[in-house]
């Protein structure tokens, strides 16, 4: 199942120094990678990593996903979930993307204002995959499924940095991921699922 994840270049071990503040470190890495954090400019927009422009479908998916910020009641939240799904399916039916997967977020009730479905789509032309969610564990999911990440709209810099670095085969992402978890805990959210995910990641990585 995980073979495809590790196809290609063997990840190069990169140790990140302990002395630097993690946020500063990741910000520097973002800069190095050319990451534009549009979420800081406009939280309702998607975030793009790398030189590729967003496709129409990616942009539209981002717009629909932004509705999640408005949803407060359970009924509204469920409606947004369906709209996100339907938009991906509509894009898929027109041949704009291939929907690769979706999963419910286990923490939805806990951090429901932040967490929605995870959608993995692949642009038919560029073969670029995009993940529509805000969770680091989802980055792990897409990696496990054999995908490489183009960008993660709406994610924090830790998520994007994790995915981006991992796709470059750098072990440094593990450190970034740990930093993210520590910070998330401090922010009073419950992220048991992510903890489990990182355990899985470590186990999978070392079983290569």
């Amino acid at each position: 199942m995980f073979n495809k994840v590790f196809e290609g270049k063997k990840p190069e071990k990169v140790e990140l120094p302990d002395t630097k503040d993690s946020q500063e470190l990741l910000a520097a890495k973002d800069e190095q990678l050319g990451v534009t954090d549009k979420s800081k400019q406009n939280s309702s927009q998607t975030t793009e990593i790398g030189p590729e422009k967003e496709s129409f479908s990616e942009k539209m998916m981002g717009n629909v996903e932004a509705l999640s910020k408005m949803a407060k009641s359970k009924k509204a939240i469920r409606a947004v979930e369906v709209l996100v799904v339907l938009t991906a399916m509509a894009a898929s039916s027109a041949g704009c993307v291939t929907v690769r997967g979706i999963s419910n977020d286990v923490h939805r009730e806990t951090v429901r204002a932040k967490k929605y479905h995870q959608l993995i789509i692949e642009n038919e032309n560029t073969k670029k995959r995009a993940l529509f969610d805000r969770g680091v564990s989802d980055a792990l999911d897409i990696i496990r499924r054999g995908g490489s990440l183009g960008y993660i709209p709406g994610s924090g810099q830790y998520d994007r940095n994790f995915a981006n670095e991992y796709s470059e085969g750098k072990l440094g992402t593990l450190r970034a991921y740990k930093d993210f978890l520590e910070r998330a805990k401090r922010d009073a959210a419950t992220f048991e699922g992510e903890e489990k995910a990182i355990e899985d990641f470590i186990r999978i990585y070392h079983s290569r």
Partner: protein, 97 residues
């Protein structure tokens, strides 16, 4: 019950057209199981919303098709739908559980 089966039963019991029922059946059969679960979760409490979702889906599919030829026009139309969706979400925010 299997979410796909349950959703199909719900759709077949709805008032949408036969063609649309067939479209949803195809769509659900092709989609991952979680898709069915997500839609079912929303419709279980609000089965009457199927009409609205049905309309949104068909319009969006048409817009994505249009985007291949006229992306600007498609973008414009898509934003109109998103505005409708925003209104809908605001309405649903006011609905008590």
């Amino acid at each position: 019950m299997d979410p796909k089966k349950e959703l199909l039963e719900l759709i077949n019991a709805s008032k949408i057209s036969k063609e649309d029922k067939k479209m949803w059946e195809d769509l659900i059969q092709k989609a991952p199981e979680d898709f069915a679960f997500a839609i079912l979760s929303a419709l279980k409490d609000n089965p009457q919303e199927l009409d609205w979702f049905n309309d949104i889906y068909k319009r969006k599919a048409a817009i994505f098709e249009l985007s291949k030829k006229d992306p600007e026009k498609a973008r414009e139309m898509f934003h109109e739908i998103v505005e409708e969706e925003k209104k809908k979400i605001q309405e649903l925010n006011k609905v008590e559980e």
